[in-house]
Subunit: 236 residues, 2 copies
DNA sequence: CGCATTCTTGATGTACCTCAACACTAGTGG
DNA sequence: CCACTAGTGTTGAGGTACATCAAGAATGCG
């Protein structure tokens, strides 16, 4: 009985991969999946572990972390609600996946999930499209990491976060000043942008001093002058 | 008649996506595809153009280039024989694709190719698996670009190229000294690794001076001490 | 041979890192 | 309620890896 309505109250039913399935088809996944909450800082998958789970992210933010043999770390991707989590068709997981905020997932055993993919071409196609999009994003980040200055990286990142904040219900127009909470610490922002925590902090205060942003305290940020920020994201 | 044997002499028949098709199925693609040679330096697809072609790379090396609004460039991916080229399900191309060496492709109109994908689940699955692999590679390069020193980048790159050279028939074992030709100029290596041409050159001579590699002239390189090179690729 | 491209090497600059100290915030227990 | 502490953020001083600017040496093609 409990199983039957896992998907009924799903917040991302129409945005996740499941949107490719009819209500009837959803029953199949229903019996396979189970909900799981994980706390901030908790790791879902360790790099090197057997890749045994796939999931849809229902709420929260996850980080995808790669590390060099000698321990330097880099966040190679962020996952948001409705994003697909995991590596189907892979032996071992390539990256460590950890929760940045309290998160909720809908988890499937990898092998069972692959079988569902095989039976549902629409879903497989949707996953392909998402993977292609993720590839484009990853490659764009390669450009950004290799060729942008710290200032440009920070400005671009803040615009990204602002866009995502507006997308998540906050407000419709990205023009004009807006305030929201960053879901990442300075250290995590540094890990995303390939900088150090000090450089992130300094660039933020530089933007604050220039009147482009304000930092009301806590993890909040207000974009006072989006155009100026945009300009700094593309500065020569 | 000419159409009938496009695939007959295909060098990558068993490695490209087409390996998922039976000889009979191949007939369908046969009528869609056409061979095309492009010269070194010639561009196949410009970023921003409508994404209207997909292709298999038969021979040669292509670069995938991203650029910032103000003109800085970065190679975000390299494509080798049997690799898939193009962006299905995309409106515009995200990156410029240019030949680094004379290359030969087997080209399909994108819309026709997508229809083939829809009719051939095995092929679509193979493309999904390749795209997932490419995503992993791109993310690993994010780590490398953001957190590795110039020395580590160069060492890792040379090992990569050596591996690829051995894979392409040269010799079986990657141990012991080996010589091969780099398909990229110093400038292109710099574009791949997010460095400048001068830094690439300096690091190469540093490796040469240390006796780890030798540069017999031209575009040739010999890896004299693979272990030492491996060590420098992971240096603290 | 001569010209263009690629490669090397040097001198100098600077953006970012490293090390270090201190301020703020938030959660804990007395 | 307020000290106490751990985590997080800010700011400064100094160093360094890489970029930039500049000149010359190889290589390769017509």
């Amino acid at each position: 009985m409990a199983h039957h309505d896992i998907c009924a109250d799903c917040a991302v039913r129409d945005q996740a991969l499941c949107s490719s399935l009819t209500d009837v088809e959803l029953q199949a996944l229903n019996t396979l999946g189970r909900r799981r909450k994980i706390a901030r800082g908790q790791t879902l998958i360790w790099a090197g572990d057997d890749s045994i789970i796939c999931a849809n992210l229902l709420s929260g933010v996850l980080k995808l972390v790669a590390a060099t043999p000698n321990g330097r770390e880099q966040i190679v991707g962020l996952l948001y609600p409705a994003d697909f989590v995991g590596q189907p068709y892979a032996g071992q997981a390539d990256f460590t996946i950890t929760a940045l905020t309290e998160s909720e997932l809908c988890i499937f055993p990898r092998d069972a999930f692959e079988r569902v993919l095989e039976d549902h071409a629409r879903m497989e196609r949707l996953l392909l499209q998402r993977t292609l999009a993720a590839l484009g994003i990853a490659r764009t980040r390669i450009l950004s990491l290799a060729r942008q200055s710290a200032q440009e990286k920070i400005a671009g990142f803040l615009l990204d976060m602002a866009l995502r904040a507006t997308a998540t219900g906050c407000r419709a127009t990205p023009d004009g000043p807006m305030t929201f909470d960053l879901p990442l610490t300075r250290g995590q922002i540094a890990d995303v942008l390939g900088l150090t925590i000090e450089t992130v902090s300094r660039q933020m205060t530089r933007l604050k001093t220039a009147g482009v942003i304000a930092l009301p305290g806590g993890r909040a940020i207000t974009i006072s002058d989006p155009d100026a920020l945009q300009g700094r994201a593309e500065a020569a």
